[in-house]
């Protein structure tokens, strides 16, 4: 069923290829809706997480549901599997992806009014392929498969920005592509290195067993138990995190890469790959450009889902497989996280382009995710996870809010707006919810993640002295955030309406309200019921990861 969820958009894309042009957007919307509904069937499994955590989350990391596993590519020395499954880490993100994709697809329905409105068929095909790529990234448990989906998602995004974007779309698209590619290269290096080192680990363990028992067959048998692969290493992400032989080999000081200790260098390779995606300072500069140029629905996807892949990558790859790496880099990561929070907020404050402001606010918000994972504690992980999901709701909403006014005014200059609360009261209400959620107002979704991360950072002071000043600095971020968001609200929504003879500002349409309403409801529900909406589904898995790192 998970595979159906992943590939349903691809099937929809194939349908779009042959459908009459007028039907394309209907098919696309139906496909994304069907995918969303299908993904909801994953929910019942995780609902039992409170009453019976063992059944849902297992007793250790690696308890997956909806697992589908088949050999995909076998070569002389390696096997690549089609291996997908969801646990508490990926499940909420899968739901987020299908939901945001659906709403973004609906947001694309005014395609005919776009400046670049050619190629509607190609647009929706790429859009659906993108969704398949994103779902694949969250579901893949084989590193190679993960990498493939990672790249699959990259290409449609490149074209979606590069073809249907704004005036500087080429620059933005290429920048996005190259940044991500640079990260991919590092990830690929890590992939290959990890493969060979896991092979080394298993063969060493087999040799040891053979020597100990004196029989080669016993050694081979132990190889089966240990690695399931006799002739080489593994791409299995769960295996790499839970197989004792591999874990010990990866963490051992004797294992090196280019003469450097293996765990820290691999950790940082993967980390940079994901930090670019997150994006964190100083790898963030692609984001404002990409957002400013991308069409509204693509911005929604970009902010809502793509950025989460960075955070997901930390939690799926970096920490479970290289916990000692996390330990070694904690200070650096936390510093980068805090800089992202403050620097992102300050940059946002200086913007006059509405969309660029929201883009920089993403940098600031995702800084909390980085800080949360960096401190390696339960509060931090929970906070980071919640922040990802909360941002996955609030930032697409904010981008859509920007898109709504852009469609009417055809500019995004903050200083040329005003009084939209008067001319568009319903839209104004939605905007208030969206931006206050982004501001981190308690009762809305943005608060929980920030609060958990901040409090967790204070607690981390017991381990690392540097965590206290970090917490203080990160807490100062709440002032800056309030500053730029309220200033924006003031400039756009309050004050006199600007009398613009060319463009009147009619109230939001039913479609626009239909897209905003689910976001607004989720902003509130997630803020009021954080357990029922997020924590119940992911805490179990997060605790397992923490237990493996020995920092429960």
């Amino acid at each position: 069923m998970l595979s159906w969820t992943i590939f349903l958009p691809a099937i929809g894309a194939a349908l779009c290829l042959f459908a009459p042009k007028g039907q394309v957007k209907r098919i696309a919307l139906a496909t994304t809706l069907a995918t969303f509904v299908l993904s909801l069937f994953l929910l019942p499994t995780f609902l039992g997480g409170v009453e019976n955590p063992e059944a849902t989350f297992g007793t250790r990391y690696g308890t997956m549901h909806f697992v589908e596993r088949a050999t995909w590519i076998t070569a002389e020395s390696f096997t690549i599997e089609y291996f997908v499954g969801v646990d508490g880490l990926s499940f909420p993100l899968v739901i987020l992806t299908t939901l945001v994709s659906f709403l973004a697809c609906w947001a694309s329905w005014n395609f005919e009014h776009w400046k670049v409105n050619k190629g509607i068929r190609t647009y929706f095909i790429l859009f659906l392929l993108l969704e398949t790529g994103m779902l694949g990234v969250f579901a893949a448990l084989d590193f190679f498969l993960f990498y493939v989906f990672w790249e699959v998602m990259l290409l449609p995004m490149y074209f979606l920005i590069g073809v249907w974007g704004g005036p500087r779309k080429e620059y933005a698209a290429i920048k996005f592509f190259l940044f991500t590619l640079a990260g991919s290269v590092l990830m690929l290096v890590a992939l290959v290195a990890m493969y060979f080192q896991s092979a080394a680990a298993i063969s060493a363990a087999m040799t040891q067993e053979t020597l100990r028992s004196g029989s080669q067959s016993a050694g081979i048998a132990s190889g089966y138990v240990l690695g399931k692969f006799l002739t080489g290493g593994t791409f299995d992400l769960i295996e790499m995190a839970t197989n004792d032989a591999i874990v010990q080999h990866f963490a051992s000081a004797g294992t090196t890469f280019l003469g450097i200790k293996f765990a820290p260098i691999m950790f940082i390779f993967l980390f940079i790959g994901f930090a670019i995606k997150l994006p964190s300072f100083p790898f963030h500069t692609w984001l404002p450009d990409a957002h400013v140029e991308a069409p509204t629905p693509i911005s929604m996807i970009l902010a809502g889902v793509l950025l989460k892949m960075g955070g997901y990558g930390f939690l799926r790859l970096c920490y479970p497989i290289f916990p000692s790496g996390g330990e070694a880099w904690a200070f650096t990561l936390a510093t980068v996280g805090v800089i992202s929070i403050l620097y992102g907020a300050l940059c946002a404050m200086a913007q006059t382009d509405f969309k660029k402001l929201v883009a920089y606010s993403s940098v600031s918000h995702m800084g909390y995710v980085l800080l949360g994972v960096a401190i390696m504690s339960a509060e931090g992980f929970q906070g980071a996870m919640f922040q990802m999901l909360a941002h996955g709701i609030s930032s697409p909403m904010c981008f859509f809010l920007v898109g709504v006014v852009y469609d009417r005014a055809h500019h995004r200059d903050l200083n040329r707006f005003g009084g939209l609360w008067l001319t568009m009261p319903k839209y104004g209400t939605m905007a208030t919810i969206g931006f206050f959620a982004s501001l981190g107002l308690p009762g809305l979704c943005g608060f929980i993640g920030e609060a958990w991360v901040l409090i967790g950072t204070f607690r981390a002071g017991a381990r690392w002295d540097w965590a206290y000043p970090m917490a203080v600095l990160a807490a100062a971020g709440v002032i800056l955030t309030a500053g730029y968001i309220l200033w924006t609200i003031k400039r756009v929504y309050l004050g006199h309406p600007h009398e613009d003879p060319d463009h009147d500002m009619p109230e939001a349409t039913a479609r626009e309200m239909g897209i905003l309403a689910p976001f607004a409801v989720l902003c509130i529900v997630m803020g009021v019921f954080p357990s029922q909406t997020v924590f119940n589904y992911c805490n179990g898995t997060l605790n397992h990861i923490l237990a493996m790192m020995g920092t429960g």
């Binding site: 590069g162 290429i174 092979a199 500069t285 404050m349 107002l441 206290y468 807490a475 309050l494 357990s531």
Partner: protein
């Protein structure tokens, strides 16, 4: 009946919340007059009914039953979320303080909602064909929900959550006239200034959670006490918290925690130096100013301090006292020169909030909260009175254009007068019938704060006995040697007054430099008599607690005397500026006939005025004071700081009671010092302002006064300073960051890509020419084909750019794989 009361309090949140959503979703359909009534009934009527039931029940519940109910409510909390490995629970904090505050908020809010219907009816609320009438009541309902939630919150986290929500309501309501030029900046200023305070609050929360291991108020207080006694956790010797070169540990860390939490209160209660937002907040509709920016929300800071009182240290408490003292004095002075009636009241509110915070700082826990409640009554009424004036005069707020309104608005005029008397501290000292004294609420509450301040400043030596016996119980282990002379003096005096009953306990500890004395004192018949005076409850734990409290007191410095005198000075300033406002508005001759002609009163608005005036006259002392006394028993049982009961009618175990010996009775002293301040203020303001501002303008032309006047009129230039320092400073830093982003970070990346392109072009040509590496070419071809798709929207240069970048990356990867094969395989 056990869980019922807590459930009723919890239920009081439901209808305001539902009302808010009903008004948000269907407000325009409900229409203009009806939306107001929906807001009144759903938003406050139902909660008031529930609250009244709780209040009355609680009033007639015995202390033992109350304790049981409190414990039951504490144990019936529900799990909300997990914070790390800790459970965060939500429930209801059911104690006397909650009940009193809840009822006060409901009662005052109900009448302000009522007033609002009248106030908004004559309002031109339709802008751009959008009626904002229903919005107003929706916001009020949301505020009711948030404020009541804040009052019943059992944990610091929920206090913080509702804290921010009331801040949001404040923001929305200050910015209610958002189409104007002045309201949006004022709203923004309020929210951001509060966030600055919340920054400190978050740090406080972080320290509480990190070291006390819980955010629950009771749990945190218990942990604090245990950790202090056992030198663990917060007070563990090995714990150090280095922040930017400062190292906090033990007592300094606890102080940082207390000050951090207090920062939140500084924001919300607009204490110096975060006071700047409150005067601007007057941009909101006047009922909002009455409800949020005078009676309830701004007092939340005081409520917070009361709630975290048990977590304070002597230094934190002194910090609170200093901040309160500065605020109460300097804000009162600004009020003298205000000509806008609402601004004048706003500065008066600041000053009175300063009194409350000062009260908390000097340990007058009960008195400060008592002042909070009396102030809420009379200040709400004063603001509503000003609202009636403003509405009646068609939105003229300038007192220079008023005058003579008593004929047009008699009810407003005389209720306002009652309010002015109350804030001025009107009372006839010495006239009393048992405990029933003659005076208005403000007189008693302020008198109590000042009495405690006096005791802390002048009588404190008797508590500060540096003896071995107390050093253990004493706060930080090292009891600060108090004034030796005072000590001796106090000792003898207390000994003298031993027979008086109340002095006995103090005698035991002030003169108790040796244990002998202590023992002998404890054994005297007088002591026993003192014990029997109290009710059964107090007698049991009373002595034990008292000894503990005296020990704590001995570790705390006396109050610097200037702080007491600042408060006394302000007690003279307050009546003056309040009577000034009254004279200018209602008395004298009409200065603007246009305004005067239109002036009128309306029933919807005068009814609440009368109700609140009656409330000011009678209710507060008898209803709330005993309940607060009872609340103090548990809520002020602090291990490090003392709460001093200014009246000590029902001495609670957790409080030190004032010495009522004839020659040192602070109340008697205060009669001489400020007992007739209200008369003097009345007379002086009559002399200057009875006929408008002519006399005043002559006075302010005289050299030293003109400079002073300018200084006060510009509010000590805080707005200018902050604008320069924070607003401009922040924007400058932001601009620098944006510059760095574009011209440093991005430049590096662009340079990098440029260089890569060159290298790629070079190596590509070489490889091409030689035709050695088919692999790379193959990839290039593929990329080329891909790029064909992009041909139309893209330029050739960029295509090449992609092509070579992809090629180079692929080559690098291929090389790496080969290297890895050799190394790893």
């Amino acid at each position: 009946m056990e869980p019922v009361l807590a459930k009723l309090l919890a239920a009081s949140l439901i209808t305001p919340f539902l009302t808010f959503w009903i008004l948000v979703l269907w407000g325009p359909k409900i229409g203009k007059p009806r939306a107001g009534w929906v807001g009144l009934i759903g938003g406050m009527g139902v909660p008031l009914a529930l609250s009244a039931v709780v209040f009355v029940t609680w009033f007639f519940t015995s202390p033992e039953q109350r304790a049981e109910l409190t414990a039951a409510a504490q144990h019936s909390q529900v799990l909300w979320a997990q914070l790390g490995r800790f459970d965060v629970t939500f429930g209801v904090k059911l104690d006397s303080l909650t009940v009193a505050m809840h009822f006060m908020v409901c009662f005052i809010a109900f009448w302000i909602f009522f007033f609002s219907i009248g106030y908004m009816s004559g309002h031109a609320d339709c802008v751009h064909h959008q009626s904002k009438y229903w919005r107003f009541f929706a916001y009020l309902a949301l505020f009711a929900f948030s404020m009541l939630g804040l009052v019943i919150s059992p944990s610091l986290l929920f206090l913080f959550i509702f804290w921010e929500l009331v801040g949001l309501c404040s923001y929305l309501l200050i910015g209610f006239y958002f189409e104007t030029d002045y309201a949006p900046p004022a709203a923004m200023k309020a929210f951001i200034t509060n966030r600055v305070g919340d920054f400190g609050f978050i740090i406080g929360l972080g320290i509480v959670f990190t070291f006390l291991g819980t955010l629950d108020l009771e749990g945190a207080a218990a942990a604090f006490k245990t950790q202090l006694a056992t030198s663990t956790g917060l007070f563990a010797p090995q714990v150090t918290v280095p922040i930017f070169g400062w190292t906090f540990s033990g007592m300094t860390l606890a102080t940082l925690m207390g000050v951090g939490l207090f920062c939140g209160a500084m924001g919300k209660s607009a204490q110096f130096p975060l006071h700047v937002w409150l005067p601007d907040a007057m941009a909101g509709p006047t009922p909002v100013s009455a409800l949020i920016h005078a009676a309830t929300m701004v007092a939340a800071g005081v409520y917070l301090v009361a709630r975290v009182f048990r977590l304070l240290t002597p230094d934190a408490q002194m910090f609170i006292a200093v901040i309160g003292c500065i605020t109460l004095t300097f804000m009162a002075l600004i009020a003298i020169v205000q000509t806008d009636i609402k601004k004048c009241l706003a500065y008066s509110t600041l000053s009175q909030l300063g009194y409350m915070i000062f009260g908390m700082g000097v340990g007058a826990w009960t008195a400060a909260l008592f002042h909070l409640i009396t102030h809420a009554f009379f200040k709400a009424m004063l603001f509503l009175g000003s609202g009636q004036v403003i509405e009646g005069c068609h939105h003229v707020q300038d007192m220079r254009r008023m005058g003579g309104l008593r004929t047009k608005m008699p009810v407003t005029c005389w209720t306002f007068f009652v309010g002015v008397l109350a804030i001025a501290g009107f009372g006839i000292p010495g006239v009393h019938l048992g405990h029933w004294k003659f005076g208005l609420g403000g007189f008693f509450s302020k008198d109590e704060i000042l009495a405690v301040a006096y005791d802390r400043a002048y009588n404190w030596g008797r508590f500060g006995a540096p003896s071995e016996g107390h050093a253990e119980a004493g706060a930080n282990g090292e009891a600060r040697p108090a004034n030796k002379e005072k000590h001796a003096d106090g000792g003898t005096r207390s000994a003298e007054s031993a027979a008086g009953g109340r002095g006995v306990r103090l005698a035991a500890f002030s003169s108790g430099s040796s244990e002998e004395v202590q023992h002998s004192a404890a054994g005297t018949p007088a002591q026993k008599a003192a014990g029997s005076e109290k009710d059964a409850h107090g007698a049991e734990g009373g002595e034990h607690h008292a000894s503990e409290k005296d020990g704590v007191a001995s570790g705390i410095q006396a109050l610097p005397k200037w702080m007491f005198w600042f408060a006394i000075l302000t007690a003279y300033v307050t009546p003056f500026y309040m009577f000034r406002a009254w004279w200018l508005t209602f008395m004298g001759h009409p200065r603007d006939h246009h305004v005067h002609e239109h002036a009128h009163e309306s029933k919807m608005m005068t009814t609440p005025l009368v109700v609140l005036a009656v409330g000011t006259l009678v209710s507060s002392y008898f209803l709330f004071r005993p309940m607060l006394s009872h609340a103090a028993e548990a809520a002020a049982d602090a291990p490090l700081v003392v709460a001093v009961d200014g009246e000590a009618h029902e001495p609670a175990a957790a409080l030190l009671s004032l010495d009522h010996t004839p020659e040192r009775d602070p109340h008697k002293k205060l009669v001489g010092l400020v007992g007739f301040a209200f008369l003097i203020g009345f007379a002086v303001s009559w002399a200057i302002y009875r006929n408008g501002l002519d006399v005043a303008s002559r006075i302010k032309a005289i050299p030293p006064f003109n400079l002073l006047h300018t200084l006060l009129e510009r509010k000590y230039y805080f707005d200018e300073l902050y604008d320069f320092l924070w607003v401009r400073g922040c924007r400058a830093v932001a601009a620098v960051c944006a510059f760095i982003d574009t011209w440093v970070i991005d430049l590096v990346y662009n340079l990098l890509s440029g260089v890569t392109e060159r290298i790629a072009a070079f190596s590509g040509r070489v490889l091409d020419a030689q035709g050695v590496d088919g692999f790379v070419n193959g990839i290039s071809e593929t990329a080329n084909d891909l790029a064909e798709v992009l041909r139309k929207p893209q330029t050739g240069g960029i295509r090449k750019y992609v092509l070579w970048s992809v090629g180079l990356a692929t080559a690098a990867i291929a090389a790496l794989i080969v290297v890895m094969r050799v190394n790893g395989g």
